[in-house]
Structures are given as structure tokens and as C-alpha cells.
């Protein structure tokens, strides 16, 4: 043992996310053995029984790398994010939810009261005649019970604590995870704050043929089966490729489905939603705009739910971060 190089210490945590990121870690298959070769996993709630108090007892910065997936939706997640920040040398925002808020971040069009009302009163599958709601403190005869506080606004990991690196994707592609582990193992990490994915857009990795992009009619994916050769956007389907960072090797497009944007904003974009508004407005109606009966509003009205489409993963990370709070 003594002669062996000392192993790194890794931690994994699952906050507000679907769990897919945990599966992505396992998806690296036999490479997980390479990980175990170089690292001991000291905290991984989904797979190991280690308590928060065990983490609290660890020395500060004693974890080398913590991979944190999920956004911060409640007080428990906030507490653990702060705790793991303190205990880790490098904190990696793993996946779209940690980096951008992800799908759970879409709930930033709402707030706690509306969400609770929907979930605990209105859902057809909910029977709750006494309108019981989760409370942070409840007295029972055995004593006091506590629950984490649910916040109005979901925050990304870096809106909560300082983040060293980002691994984008929903979930991050295996190749990017493997590259990141390799970079950590060999100490060849890029400057702090880097996004561990290629500096280009999904379109740059997409094998489809592109002519000059001009579209007249927007179609939704259930309305047609697109051909597999031509650019989906040119076929009238909203594909987020031009406004999304690469790294996925255009997997969804390979399955004949449009990019929905999980890689987050492309390099140099202030935010993903604005980048897509720009891109789409540049090509929609190009053929029609000089006609005397051209109607820009009609063109644009073809786009249903632009917020949900352009900010599907990045609402919490957008400039506004959330919908104006109802008072």
C-alpha cells in the first residue's frame, strides 16, 4: 500500500434533478474501474451509506473533486452545496440542472404557493381533503419533526456557491465525463470556471446538410417525420442546435429529433434564450419579408411557448432567472 500513489477522493451528490446524472456516472461502464483505480469515493448517497454528519466531520478541502448534480430547490440542498463546497478542492457542476437549473428550473415561471397548490390540492391523482401541506416544523407527541424549506426560486449551483468546473448535458455525455476524469487524474485541468466541453455549437458537430437557412413555416415534431439528411431547422422544426454548446455529438439529431438545448448557451452568448431568438428570427420569413403581404407578427405567432422552448434547460440561468414574482 505504502508505495502506491495516494488515491484521490471523489464525492457525488444528487440535488434537484431526475437522477439521470447518477445513471450517467454508471454509463461510463468499465471506465468506472479506471475511476476506482485513481479515486476512492467518500460520499455518494445514491450508492453508499454515508451520512451528512460524516461529511461534516471531514477536514476542509479533504475531498479532491465533488461532482454535484441538480439545482438548489430547498434548504437541504443549499446546506449540502455549502458543505461540499467547504470540503472539496474542486466542485464540478455536473449536468444541465446544476449548471443551468435544467427542467426543474422551468418551475421558475411559478412559485412555492402555486406549486404546492397544484401538487397538494389540484392534482387529479391527489386526495387531500384536509389540504395538508408540507411544513418545515410539525409538532407531534413524540416531539418536533422538520422538513427542508422549499424555495420559490430554483437556483443553479453557481448562484449558491462558487463552482470550479461545469460538465454540461442532460445528462453529460460519457465522453465528456471520461475526458474530465482523465484531466483530473493527470492534473491537466483547464483554468477555473471552464466548461468541460468543446467551444462550439451543436450545429458544428451535426452531420446534416445545410443550404442557406430560410424557413417559412414552423412545424412541430409530431406533425411530420423529418427526412434524415437535411438540417431540421431548414425543414421547419425548431432545433436548438445553433444556440447550444456542443459535446453531445448531435445524438438527438442522429435519432431524428431536434436539439432541445441541454448543453446550455454556446460560447460567447449572454444567454441561451436570446441566442435562439436571434438565430430563429434571422431565418424565419427570409423568403417572404420583401413581399407586400408579408406579416411579421403572423410569422412569429407560429412559435408556440417560446419561453418553454428556448429556455427549456436554462431558465434559472437566464438573465431574468425567473418570472416576475406574483405579489
Amino acid at each position: 500500500m505504502g508505495a502506491e500513489k495516494e488515491k484521490l477522493k471523489f464525492a457525488f451528490y444528487w440535488a434537484s434533478s431526475c437522477g439521470g446524472c447518477e445513471v450517467a456516472v454508471l454509463d461510463i461502464n468499465e471506465k468506472i474501474l479506471d475511476v476506482l483505480e485513481i479515486a476512492d469515493i467518500v460520499f455518494w448517497p445514491v450508492a453508499m451509506d454515508v451520512k451528512y454528519k460524516d461529511v461534516e466531520a471531514m477536514a476542509d478541502k479533504s475531498i479532491d473533486v465533488c461532482f454535484f448534480n441538480g439545482g438548489v430547490r430547498n434548504s437541504e440542498q443549499e446546506h449540502v452545496a455549502k458543505l461540499l463546497r467547504k470540503k472539496s478542492k474542486f466542485l464540478v457542476a455536473f449536468g444541465a440542472c446544476a449548471q443551468l437549473g435544467g427542467i426543474p428550473g422551468l418551475a421558475n415561471v411559478s412559485n412555492r404557493e402555486e406549486i404546492f397548490k397544484r401538487v397538494y390540492d389540484e392534482m387529479p391523482s391527489t386526495k387531500n381533503p384536509e389540504v395538508v401541506r408540507p411544513k418545515t416544523r410539525t409538532e407531534v407527541k413524540e416531539g418536533e419533526l422538520t422538513l427542508p424549506e422549499f424555495y420559490d426560486t430554483l437556483k443553479t449551483l453557481d448562484q449558491t456557491v462558487e463552482v470550479d468546473y461545469y460538465l454540461p448535458g442532460c445528462p453529460p455525455p460519457v465522453k465528456l465525463i471520461a475526458n474530465a476524469v482523465e484531466a483530473i487524474a493527470t492534473g491537466k485541468l483547464p483554468p477555473k470556471g471552464a466548461i468541460l466541453a468543446p467551444n462550439r455549437a451543436v450545429c458544428d458537430e451535426c452531420p446534416r446538410t445545410r443550404e442557406e437557412k430560410k424557413i417559412s413555416e414552423i412545424k412541430r415534431i409530431y406533425e411530420l417525420t423529418p427526412n434524415t439528411e437535411e438540417c431540421l431547422l431548414e425543414q421547419g422544426i425548431i432545433c436548438m442546435g445553433p444556440a447550444t454548446r456542443a459535446g453531445c455529438e448531435a445524438q438527438c439529431i442522429d435519432a431524428n429529433m431536434p436539439c432541445t438545448g441541454c448543453g446550455g448557451p454556446p460560447p460567447n452568448a449572454l444567454e441561451q434564450g436570446a441566442a435562439m431568438m436571434s438565430a430563429l428570427s434571422s431565418v424565419l420569413g427570409l423568403n417572404e419579408e420583401k413581399n407586400s403581404d408579408y406579416d411579421a407578427q403572423k410569422m412569429i405567432n407560429q412559435i408556440k411557448d417560446p419561453l418553454g422552448t428556448f429556455y427549456k434547460y436554462s431558465l434559472a440561468h437566464s438573465i431574468f432567472r425567473r418570472k416576475v414574482m406574483n405579489k
Binding site: 441566442a275 419561453l307 438573465i319
Partner: protein, 137 residues
């Protein structure tokens, strides 16, 4: 309480609307001093993120003004793109809970100093009725 004076950020293209604003000045047309002008080469250069940022920073209204369609834009069709961006962003603003009327698009030629003065006057009136940017309250 102090009377509400809306703050407007105006993105004006160099070749038409900015010249129009200039003409309003040299012609001594009266208009309210609520607009802060940012000169851009073309309305096609106005990234929707600039407008979002302006609202985030507390602007009560944003004006995008450029050359008349169909043929006046000095970069051929930047104004058409700007028009679609603004219309699309207005839909998005609404979903964010911000009144889309706060974002206005106008075509103002270099000869239309009077139009510039009128647009700003109208906008200030409309925004006074609408009240402050909801992000600020």
C-alpha cells in the same frame, strides 16, 4: 412620493433613427428627457440579450428604432431581422411577467425628427400609465 419618471433605453441605428434623433435636436423639437440613447450600426445588431439586460437593470421601457422597411436598411435586411426579434421577445417578455408594451419598435428616417420626438413623447406617456418596471418593485 416622487413622481414616476420612466427610464427608457433607446437602441438607434446609426444611419436612420440616430440621425432622426439628431435632427429632432437641431430642429429644437421638444420631447421628454427620459430616453438614454445607445447608437448601434444597425437594428440588426441588437441582440435580444441587450434588451433583456436593459430590463434586468431597471429600464422601464426599451425603444428599438431603425430604417424603414422594406428598403432603407443600410445592411439590406437588418431591420427585418430586428422586427422579428422584437416581436418574438415581446412574447417571451409576456411569459416572464413583463408587459410587452414596454418594448417598442419604430422605423424613423433621418428626415423624421418630428417622428422621433412624437414616439418618445408617446412612449413616456404610455409608460407613466403602465407604472415602473415590475422587476424593480
Amino acid at each position: 412620493m416622487k413622481k414616476f419618471e420612466p427610464k427608457i433605453i433607446g437602441f438607434l441605428c446609426n444611419w436612420c433613427a440616430y440621425a432622426g434623433a439628431d435632427l429632432a435636436g437641431v430642429s429644437r423639437f421638444q420631447y421628454p428627457p427620459n430616453v438614454r440613447i445607445i447608437r448601434v450600426m444597425c437594428t440588426g445588431r441588437v441582440d435580444p440579450a441587450f434588451i433583456i439586460e436593459a430590463f434586468k437593470e431597471g429600464a422601464d421601457g426599451v425603444l428599438v428604432a431603425g430604417c424603414h422597411t422594406p428598403a432603407d436598411c443600410h445592411y439590406i435586411a437588418g431591420n427585418f431581422k430586428a422586427e422579428r426579434r422584437v416581436l418574438l421577445l415581446r412574447k417571451v417578455l409576456k411569459q416572464f411577467g413583463i408587459e410587452p408594451e414596454r418594448l417598442r419598435l419604430e422605423w424613423i428616417s433621418a428626415a423624421e425628427g418630428d417622428k422621433f420626438a412624437r414616439v418618445v413623447t408617446e412612449m413616456v406617456d404610455d409608460l407613466k400609465k403602465l407604472g415602473p418596471n415590475p422587476l424593480k418593485t
